[in-house]
Amino acid sequence: MSSVLIKNESRLGLKLVAPAVGIIGLLVIYPILFNIYLSFFDVQLNGTKTFVGMENYTDLLGNPRYFHSIGVSVIYLIGTVVGTTVLGLAAAILMNQEFRFRNLARGLILLPYFAPVISVVFGWQFIFDPVNGIYNHVVVDVLHLTDTRENLIGNPDSALFVVILFDIWKHFPIAYLLFLAKLQSVPKDLYEAAAIDGQNAWGRFWHVTLPELRFVIATVVLLRIIWNLNRFEDVYLLAPNVETLPIFTYYQAFAGIVDQGVAAAISVIQLLVLVGLIWLYVRKVLKW
């Protein structure tokens, strides 16, 4: 190709990416930098700013609620990541079997993932209603597991587990899809060879399926961490009393005693963690 052509091509390329990259630069890259800048100010809702140096950061590091929310986030991350991965994998193995109505079942289990958060949280709240909900009805009246009805969503400690269950329910289908795609590409003769070696179903899973899925599992885990670190709506709408980091940030920024400078500082710290994780993803996962 002549240099003119190369030049034309690069000019065309720049022209085509310009609108998208421009918008992203203006509304993602710039805000990230602006956020770092804001984190050194006392910021009011109306935009009034007073320079306070590192005060937002020192305030934050002296705030037990911040560390509490980090703790909540860690439990949330561990629960959801393990849950979605395990259930996703189990579902993929199950749906990879042949049985009647398989297509229907495959379609139905994708429903939670597709559904808007807002359209399912009220249903979940109703299920766990302490007096009228079906959860307490089953646990107390049908199975007689305990005598006392619990308000699982009302109490922040148990609400955390409901929120984790909700996230698993809502997001295991995406893990399932990734696993299923990979499972379908595992050559059948690997299984047959293992069977000839006298491996039972468990052995085949352990020696064939898992090694084949290694990379996908790593991908799923990393992606779950990255997405769930920022997850806001699922938690806030179902149980606003569960203070994960994003919820804590939201309360700092938009509710009660508004302190957007501190909210900015939280975001900066969280962003650093996120950048580390994304770097890991790009370096390790994408190179595989």
């Binding site: 091509e9 065309l12 085509l16 992203i24 993602v28 899809l177 069977a195 920022n230």
Partner: protein, 320 residues
Amino acid sequence: MMNKRSTTQSVILYTLVLALVIFCVFPFLQILSTSLKHPIDWGNPSLIPRVLHLDAYKELLGLMPPKEADVPASVQRLLDNPALSAEKKQMLLDKFSSGGDVFPFGRYMLNTFVISFVTGICSTFLASLAAYAIARLRFPAQSLMANGVLFVYMVGGVLLMVPLYQMSVNVGLASSATGTIFSLFLIYLIQTLPVAMYMLGNYFRTIPFSLEEAAMMDGCSRVEAFWRIIMPLSKPMLFTVFIYCFVIAWNEYLFASVFLKQYQDFQTLPLALQTLFTSKNAIWDRIMAASMLTLLPVVICFMLANKHLSGGLTDGGVKG
């Protein structure tokens, strides 16, 4: 492997499948059931309503029969004001009796549809240009941009909440409804652009370059080759990406709540539903009916796009 299944194995398999499906579907059944129950029936744990109660849907969809002629005496007296012309009086009376815009569900649905649709179209269009360039053309900083997209795609909305709000206040967009909606549209655009670019970029790479080459041999320019060859070939994927962007915007709550709270006429469904829930009504039937109706378009969209969606999602390691 499959034909060697014993009866026990079959039973276990079907039980597990059934359990999984019930786990996934149960909350939807609960929503549907409650939406069809009379308030007096809410304490009843059974999923089957004792009396089918469609009022909630009728109310939301504006199908309630107009209130009977008995306008309350106080309202009658209010409207008997001699300063009101007969014409205006009738207009007010009609408005009062219709009761249609009490919770203007239709309006919220239209708001949500418009902003999601426009977002979907713009995002798919801009992303297809950029994705093509990144997938096919060589230009400076190309790989930086390719990785940059991925990075941006993973930075969640929560992290940008404060700076974006402050930016729109500083620019003055937050003080008018028009400006606020424009801000929100831009925000939805950046929430969907990276994922759209990512999905389309991956797809464009699967189209053999030889097709474009052949077209260019025939005298097409690069741009023409893109429009005549690549775009038509990508139609199903473009549609999938559009649906995906549409649904992201349709479902969005965080930024809508930050920006639109004050502009009630322009609220989107997620925000309106949350407001309905905190209003002082015993509203389980209505909130559940509204949930069903919000869910429906999304389910339809995904049914339309399902064929390509699963593939697209797994290629992209997609947001979720």
